[in-house]
């Protein structure tokens, strides 16, 4: 086992996440694609911790903080989406243009 297959795996998942974020019309779908990208980064860190023999096992600690941030991001992001839905009754991002004129 080597590090490179894991970098490839996380690159593939990250690219899938970017694709979802670029093509989804539903704002919740975009948030889900963001979660995919967070997980790609976490896989990378854990694999680096395993194969590069990092000092202080930083590759284990850092993903915990990333997951904390992801939880906070999902909570606030979904609250914004719900608030928008209450105001203008849609979650489709091309219809959310009240800041544009």
């Amino acid at each position: 086992m080597m590090l490179l297959p894991f970098i490839g795996l996380s690159a593939i998942i990250f690219a899938i996440g970017i694709y979802g974020a670029l093509t989804r019309r539903n704002a919740i779908g975009i948030l889900m694609s963001l979660e995919l990208m967070f997980n790609a980064a976490n896989i990378n860190l854990v694999a680096a911790n395993k194969f590069l023999n990092l000092e202080n096992s930083i590759g284990i600690i850092f993903p915990i903080f990333i997951i904390t941030i992801a939880a906070a991001e999902a909570a606030v992001g979904l609250a914004i989406i719900l608030s928008l839905y209450r105001q203008i009754k849609t979650v489709y991002v091309e219809k959310i243009n009240i800041m544009k004129w």
Partner: protein
């Protein structure tokens, strides 16, 4: 090794389904499958505590939030609307370029690979020691981040009388 391949295959297939399914509810369920298989990859890489955290927080918490948001915002009529916009071709090109660029960069980087010997007791103890010494400040700031997220989300979502 075989298990790792299985988990990686499930993760990639589930990720593709997350971004391509028509019904947003099914996307959320495939996201749960994806997160579970990532937890499996963590277990295979000797990060046992992180796998537990992944299952507890992601599958047990964030997926529940996403499912609630899906149920709060979807109607029967909107379940079958077109879910993707017209920039599909451009997006696929961009993603292929990005993935190949990352992989090429990884191949050109000289990495000194050495195996890290797993602690037979698991990683929970070393994680706790680091959290109380080197990473004490990030540990406290994490709670501030959670506090801000909690207050912000309640202000945004918790209005009365609507």
């Amino acid at each position: 090794m075989l298990l790792l391949l299985l988990f990686a295959a499930i993760a990639i297939i589930a990720a593709i389904l997350v971004v391509s399914m028509k019904n947003i509810m099914h996307c959320a369920l495939f996201l749960a499958l994806f997160l579970l298989s990532v937890a499996g990859i963590f277990f295979c890489l000797d990060a046992d505590f992180l796998g537990i955290v992944q299952i507890l927080v992601y599958v047990g918490g964030i997926i529940v939030l996403i499912l609630f948001a899906v149920m709060l915002t979807s109607r029967v009529s909107s379940a079958l609307l077109e879910q993707t916009n017209e920039q599909k071709g451009l997006a696929i090109t961009a993603c292929l370029l990005l993935a190949s660029a990352i992989t090429a960069a990884a191949f050109r980087t000289p990495l000194v690979t050495s195996f890290y010997t797993a602690d037979p007791e698991g990683t929970t103890r070393s994680t706790g020691e680091l959290l109380l010494t080197v990473y004490a400040l990030p540990f406290e700031i994490a709670s501030v981040v959670l506090l801000v997220a909690l207050i912000g989300a309640i202000v945004l979502a918790g209005k009365k009388g609507e």
